[in-house]
Amino acid sequence: MGMPMLIRAKQKGENTEVKVLVKHDMETGRRKDEAGNIVPAHFIKTISASCEGKIIFEGELGPAVSKDPFLSFSFKNGKKGDKVSITWVDNKDDSRTDETKIR
């Protein structure tokens, strides 16, 4: 159960524009702390978004993506009031789902 995501979904003409701010350390597992010890890897592996149950976006992030990732994408056939739900799963098998309604 990670930290809450900030999701914004706006209807712009035919397309729905989704912006999501994810709170996650995204540690590569190659960084060392002040004592010289490796900071363990902790990053989001997959993220997926669905609208009213239909998958609209899927991505594999991984250690190359920096801390607190920001994603922005748009999709068709959405309308105001539809529920957009986003889920991520990280390398520690932790996951988080948040949702919002399209405005």
């Binding site: 701010l21 350390d25 801390k67």
Partner: protein, 274 residues
């Protein structure tokens, strides 16, 4: 073509080439600033500071400490619990403590008095790092975000506020440390920069407003929201001055000086910086 002519031709081309690179490097510099501005505008949309603001809001309304109270009765100068517009009037004089406080000193006070935290607990981890987030930075992000878009308006009317302002001003011009730096060394005069970082000229009102009005900010390079206490702590560090104790009056004095000089500007934080 004689050898002399070829030489002349080569020298001519060489000088034309060097002039071309000269002019292109000048416009490359202007271009760089423009591109950085464009980059900043694009990024402003996904400012992670908003996550800190949300966390801070949660903390404001969460019962905590031995007294199990929320911060809803904390008076930031506009009355108990009034957060909207409070930051743009700070630092300010508080009669209940008979001293001038900035936001962070006031938060320490509220967390100690209302929630019953000890001074150690209330000043714990003011600057977060990966995996070790700071409650203070979250609270600061929340409170300052509630002043977004408003005009910076510190009063400096009370005797103690005036003294604090003068102290801040004095320190601004005070050269100290191993490098004999004062704030004035880097922050007066146009077009100064350190490596690729442009330095705002605080003698110029517009730049002073823009600079003060953009803190706190999410520092991309650190992945954390950094407050005014951190910004000034870092300045002092870079001046090779002794390390500023968190919540020291010196930082409040400098903040007050900078805030007053930024009066009238539109507050636009938490912002995002590299």
């Amino acid at each position: 073509m004689t050898i002399m002519n070829i030489k002349r031709l080569l020298i001519f081309f060489a000088s034309v080439l060097s002039m071309c690179t000269l002019t292109s490097s000048v416009s490359a510099q202007d271009n760089t600033s423009e591109e950085i501005e464009k980059y900043r505008e694009l990024l402003a949309d996904g400012n992670p500071a908003e996550l800190w603001e949300l966390t801070g809001e949660e903390l404001w309304y969460r019962e905590a400490g031995p007294k199990n109270k929320t911060l809803e009765t904390c008076d930031l100068g506009k009355g108990p619990g009034i957060v909207e517009g409070a930051y743009v009037e700070m630092p300010r004089y508080f009669s209940d403590v008979d001293k001038v406080m900035d936001l962070e000193q006031r938060l320490i006070y509220c967390r100690m008095m209302i929630q019953g935290l000890s001074r150690e607990q209330a000043t714990e981890r003011p600057f977060g790092s990966a995996g070790n987030s700071s409650d203070i930075e979250a609270l600061v992000a929340y409170v300052t975000g509630q002043s977004r878009g408003m005009k910076i308006a510190v009063a400096v009317s009370h005797e103690k506020e005036k003294r604090m302002y003068e102290m801040g001003k004095r320190f601004f011009y005070f050269r100290a440390g191993s490098h004999d730096f004062g704030c004035v060394t880097c922050h007066s005069g146009e077009n100064k920069r350190i490596r690729l970082q442009e330095l705002p000229n605080f003698m110029n009102v517009e730049q002073a407003r823009k600079s003060y009005g953009s803190w706190p900010a999410y520092r991309v390079s650190q992945g954390e929201v950094r407050s005014m206490q951190h910004r000034l702590y870092d300045c002092l560090r870079q001046q090779r001055c002794p390390e500023a104790i968190y919540g020291t009056d010196l930082v409040t004095a400098i903040s007050l000086y900078l805030a007053k000089n930024a009066n009238g500007g539109t507050y636009d934080a938490p912002a995002m910086k590299r």
